[in-house]
């Protein structure tokens, strides 16, 4: 594993004001993300793991603290800068896929490819996720697992430095979930992407290079996994 720090979070906090209640979703959290690693963030609902992921992915701004991405501070980045950051550096995979229903599988991937200067070819990426033959199908014609694979292809085609996955197996059955994790692992290995998976499923922690456990808006522990388990060998 490469030890270059890709992103550095320093005492990052996030508070939301919801009506008259202030919710501290993230409390002075510091974390280094290494280039090329597979990081799993584990935690129960409300532990702040999605907030952490959103801040890493430039979808949300911290209330305080610093974020350095490759020597560049994102702490005070404008909306426009964050959009460009997401466009060029980040790939997102969601629990509910969020594909564009009016675009075919192939077109969903091409839509993302069109955003960056040197994308991978859509056909190659679709072949990698094993759906080259479903290129002309609409999301409504695909199973959940297939939709999630298209969603991964859509994230991968931009050749992002960071692939962020929010509960990527949350809506899928066990077998399909495993397939998705295998795909992510493969992407890490073949493309050298840095992958962060947020999940409440503790079993998934076993495939990580590092495991971050979160509780009540803070990092409870960071475990370096010396011997990550291949996805096909985990169970839940």
């Amino acid at each position: 594993m490469d030890t270059e720090v890709l992103m550095k979070l320093n005492k990052v906090s996030k508070t939301y004001i919801m009506g008259e209640v202030t919710v501290e979703a993230l409390k002075e959290t510091s974390l280094d993300i290494y280039s090329g690693e597979l990081l799993v963030i584990l935690g129960p609902s409300g532990s702040g793991k999605s907030t952490l992921l959103n801040i890493i992915g430039g979808m949300d701004k911290p209330s305080s603290g610093d974020i350095i991405y490759r020597d560049r501070s994102l702490t005070k980045a404008s909306d426009r800068d964050l959009t460009l950051f997401r466009r060029n550096e980040i790939g997102f995979v969601f629990q509910f896929y969020n594909l564009i229903s009016d675009l075919t599988a192939g077109e969903n991937v091409e839509l993302a490819a069109g955003l960056v200067e040197n994308p991978l070819t859509s056909q190659d990426v679709l072949a990698q996720v094993g759906l080259a033959d479903r290129v002309d199908h609409f999301p409504s014609q695909l199973s959940g697992g297939e939709q999630q694979r298209i969603s991964i292809a859509r994230a991968m085609v931009k050749n992002p430095t960071l692939l962020l996955c929010d509960e990527p197996t949350g809506a899928l059955d066990y077998q399909t979930g495993i397939t998705i994790l295998e795909l992510l692992k493969k992407a890490q290995q073949s493309m050298g992407s840095t992958i962060i998976i947020v999940t409440h499923n503790t079993a998934i922690g076993a495939i990580a290079d590092r495991l971050v456990r979160m509780r009540s808006g803070s990092i409870a522990e960071v475990i370096v996994n010396e011997a990550p388990v291949p996805p096909e060998r985990i169970e839940w």
Binding site: S50, D79, I90, F92, N98, I100, L111, S140
Partner: protein
């Protein structure tokens, strides 16, 4: 049900923009319905009452002069209910400021109430047959009094049979034949300053015109169910020894025709305009409710699981549409009532009707309320039908991703392959919602067509002015002499300084006979070399005057079914000397916009009259700087009955057009509102449906501006064809409108200038941009963090 009502309230608050948008369209539809229908109802009601109260004539017979004794025989003709004899003649008025005017002296036997076409006093008192201190007392129409700054008791100098009389104004009055006072059909509109009606006792009129014991017009009312043709024939036979000049039915009476034309226009608009707005509102409500039910599937399932029955839920959703309509109708009633009063005021200004034609029409208001609630209920209940098929258990499962289907454009593979993903997305979204597409396009087409309809009146009048003032005729003054004179007498006028051109003409009233049918017409005898007045073809091009043969008016050609090449039999109706007859070949049809004149060469007109070189009037072109001086010099000349200034006519029309601006701008505003609401609703529905997808685009690196661009891509393929289609649709609408009010007094071509098309298209662009902007403000607030949360 209380909870459901509260839920309805939340739903309305959550979609306030859409709710208000639809309510505004209903408001516009209802206000137009109330405004126009009330105006129509009031106008036709007061017309009916006025006609009835004052015994409005069914038929008019003009003679040279006939003895009063003949009236006994006229009255006893079967089919005659009431008959009156009177004298009516135009005479010049001498004004202080060297200006010319003329009044139409109209006589009344006493008691006035028993006369056909009796009158109603508006101000002052009735004339007296034997006024204290002698002289002649008259009543004039209110418009003439006001326009000439006269007061009751003032004197007016008139010239009758070459004698000057000072008559005293005792009061103002109006009658059913004076609702829209124009000298003749060649005038575009009333000019109260230079033409008025002067009502005098029959005895005095007989003295003025040396017609003691005689009259020159008979007015008749028929008994119900009378054989009109036979009755008319009998009266014509009775009057023929006295120079039966002309006879015509009520429908050819000028002010009646003008009023009928306006009523026909109102009638057409009173159903058409509200229909457009209400049907579009109903369609939009239907689409919105259908979508609402689709997205609230789970909630409907929960309601059913809790024990609400189908009817309660259907009623709950339908209430949304019914509330939109109730809300819109209330605002519409308020706006409509004030619009009705505006319309009524305007008509009161246009038409001299004595009855108050304002007033609220409760029947119309109740109708409008029922109409709008009906629209709401129809849209609501038909849209809520899918509620019935939702099963509680099934509705709890997450709904599958939106179904997509291929767009028709995909069959054009070459083009499709060139399109970017965002364009493809837009085309598929559009074709997925076909019904919504149809509604949006229909709505936008209507809005643009209404813009054209609002603006084309301006073009029509502009074209008319140009055609009337610059092409068909280009004179500055038209003179009418009190009797035919030799053409050579024009020399004295042509010598006046500043007179550039003077051309004589002969106005010859005629009756055209063809295959047993007749029609009355005015034949203008004019030199083929003349430059100041020309007949025109249908396309507006000018027709040269032939040396032999006549150019027949469009109206007479239509009435008698005449074609170029036919020969007609003419009978002169001069009133002076014996009637003359001639057979003349038709060489062309005159589509002149005003006045329905037929044309013939001046020598041929004289030949028909067995005269030579006679004229009854002249046209002049003068140096504009000397116009005023010439006008005053002409006013001093005796023998000139009237001097019509084109400039004054033009000014009159322009001031009339000014009063139209309110109407036109209101209609433009309504059209833009309609277009705006359609776009707003369509975009906001699409936006709400696809919030999640659009947010996911933000996460993969689309900027908000690019996402807005995607929304635009959905609107453009609908808006561009709709705007383009709206332009010819507007033309069709204008054609239809004119067809619905067509009457043969005037010929109005539907003229729409390219600039109006451009403006309507621009109006279309404006409402599209505004609607799109208002609806896509939500993109700024689109929350990408929500994406990681649950779908429903």
């Amino acid at each position: 049900m209380k909870v459901l009502n509260r839920r309805l309230w939340h739903t309305i608050r959550g979609s306030l923009g859409q709710f208000l948008g639809m309510a505004i369209i209903i408001t516009v539809g209802i206000s137009l319905y109330i405004g126009i229908t009330t105006a129509f109802f009031n106008l036709s009601q007061s017309q009916e009452v006025f006609y009835q109260d004052n015994n409005f004539a069914d038929y008019y017979f003009y003679v040279v002069r006939a003895p009063e004794s003949i009236m006994k025989q006229v009255e006893s003709v079967p089919g005659v209910a009431l008959a009156s004899a009177r004298i009516q003649k135009d005479v010049p008025v001498l004004k202080e400021e060297d200006e010319r005017a003329s009044v139409r002296i109209t006589s009344y036997a006493l008691p006035i109430e028993n006369q056909v076409n009796s009158i109603q006093l508006l101000d002052g008192r009735l004339f007296s047959e034997n006024p204290v201190g002698g002289g002649i007392e008259v009543m004039v129409n209110q418009g003439y009094l006001d326009a000439n700054f006269l007061s009751l008791g003032d004197k007016i100098d008139i010239v009758a049979e070459n004698k000057k009389y000072s008559v005293k104004v005792a009061g103002t009055a109006t009658g059913p034949e004076f609702t829209y006072i124009m000298k003749d059909a060649s005038n575009m509109m009333p000019d109260n300053e230079t033409f008025g009606i002067m009502m005098v006792p029959l005895k005095q009129a007989q003295q003025l015109f040396n017609l003691s014991g005689q009259f020159n017009q008979v007015l008749v009312q028929f008994t119900p169910g009378a054989d009109v043709d036979a009755t008319v024939k009998s009266i014509e036979d009775l009057l023929s020894p006295y120079g039966n000049l002309s006879s015509f039915p009520r429908k050819d009476q000028l002010s009646h025709a003008a009023l009928e034309g306006e009523l026909a226009g109102l009638d057409a608009m009173s159903s058409f305009l509200p229909l457009v707005f209400l049907s579009i509102a109903a369609a939009i409500q239907f689409v919105i409710l259908r979508r609402m039910i689709k997205t609230q599937r789970t909630q409907i399932g929960i309601m059913k699981a809790l024990g609400f029955d189908n009817w309660q839920i259907v009623y709950h959703f339908s209430s949304y549409a019914i509330l939109v309509c109730a809300f819109g109708a209330l605002a519409g009633i308020l706006a409509g009532v004030s619009m009705a009063s505006y319309f009524s005021d305007m008509y009161a200004m246009f038409f001299n009707l004595p009855q108050a034609i304002g007033g609220v029409n409760y029947q119309v208001i109740i109708n409008s309320l029922l109409l709008s609630l009906g629209v709401g209920a129809l849209a609501g209940f038909s849209a809520s039908r899918p509620v019935l098929s939702i099963s509680p258990a099934e509705s709890m499962r997450p709904s599958p991703p939106g179904r997509s289907s291929r767009s028709l454009l995909e069959y054009w593979t070459w083009l499709w392959s060139k399109l970017s993903s965002s364009w493809k997305m837009a085309f598929r979204t559009i074709s997925r919602n076909r019904f919504r597409l149809v509604i949006s396009i229909f709505g936008m087409v209507s809005a643009v067509a209404l813009l054209i309809l609002s603006m084309f009146t301006n073009d029509a009048v502009d074209y008319l002015m140009d055609q009337h003032f610059n092409k068909e005729s280009s004179y500055d003054y038209m003179l009418t002499f009190n009797q035919p004179v030799k053409e050579s007498e024009l020399l004295s006028i042509s010598r006046l300084e500043g007179v550039n051109i003077i051309e004589g003409l002969f106005y010859l009233p005629i009756r055209v006979h063809h295959q047993g049918q007749t029609s009355e017409d005015v034949l203008v005898g004019i030199n083929p070399s003349n430059t100041l007045k020309k007949p025109t073809r249908e396309n507006g091009s000018l027709i040269p005057i032939p040396s032999e043969g006549m150019i027949i008016s469009r109206r007479t050609a239509n009435r008698l079914g005449l074609q170029v090449g036919d020969t007609v039999h003419l009978e002169t109706l001069m009133g002076l000397g014996p009637a003359r007859y001639a057979d003349v070949k038709i060489t062309a049809v005159n589509h002149q916009l005003f006045g329905n004149e037929s044309f013939i060469s001046l020598p041929q007109a004289n030949q028909i009259l067995q005269e030579s070189q006679l004229i009854t009037g002249a046209l002049m072109k003068v140096n504009s700087r000397q116009a005023k001086i010439i006008e005053s010099q002409l006013s001093d000349m005796t023998g000139i009955t009237s001097i019509v200034s084109r400039q004054k006519e033009r000014d009159n029309i322009m001031s009339m057009m000014d009063s139209m601006i309110y109407m036109v701008s209101t209609m433009i505003m309504f059209s833009v509102i309609l277009g705006f609401v359609i776009i707003y609703n369509s975009v906001i529905m699409s936006f709400n449906e696809r919030k999640r997808e659009l947010a996911s685009l933000l996460t993969i690196g689309f900027t908000r501006r690019e996402v807005a661009g995607i929304m635009w891509r959905e609107t453009i393929p609908q808006a561009v064809p709709a705007i383009l289609l709206g332009l010819p649709a507007g033309k069709m609408l204008a054609d239809l409108y004119f067809k619905s009010i067509d009457f043969d007094m005037w010929y109005m071509p539907v003229v729409i200038y390219p600039s109006s098309y451009a403006l309507a298209a621009l109006g279309g662009v404006v409402f599209v941009v505004l609607g799109q902007w208002a609806a896509s403000r939500g993109i700024k607030k689109l929350n990408i963090i929500e994406l990681s949360k649950n779908i429903d």
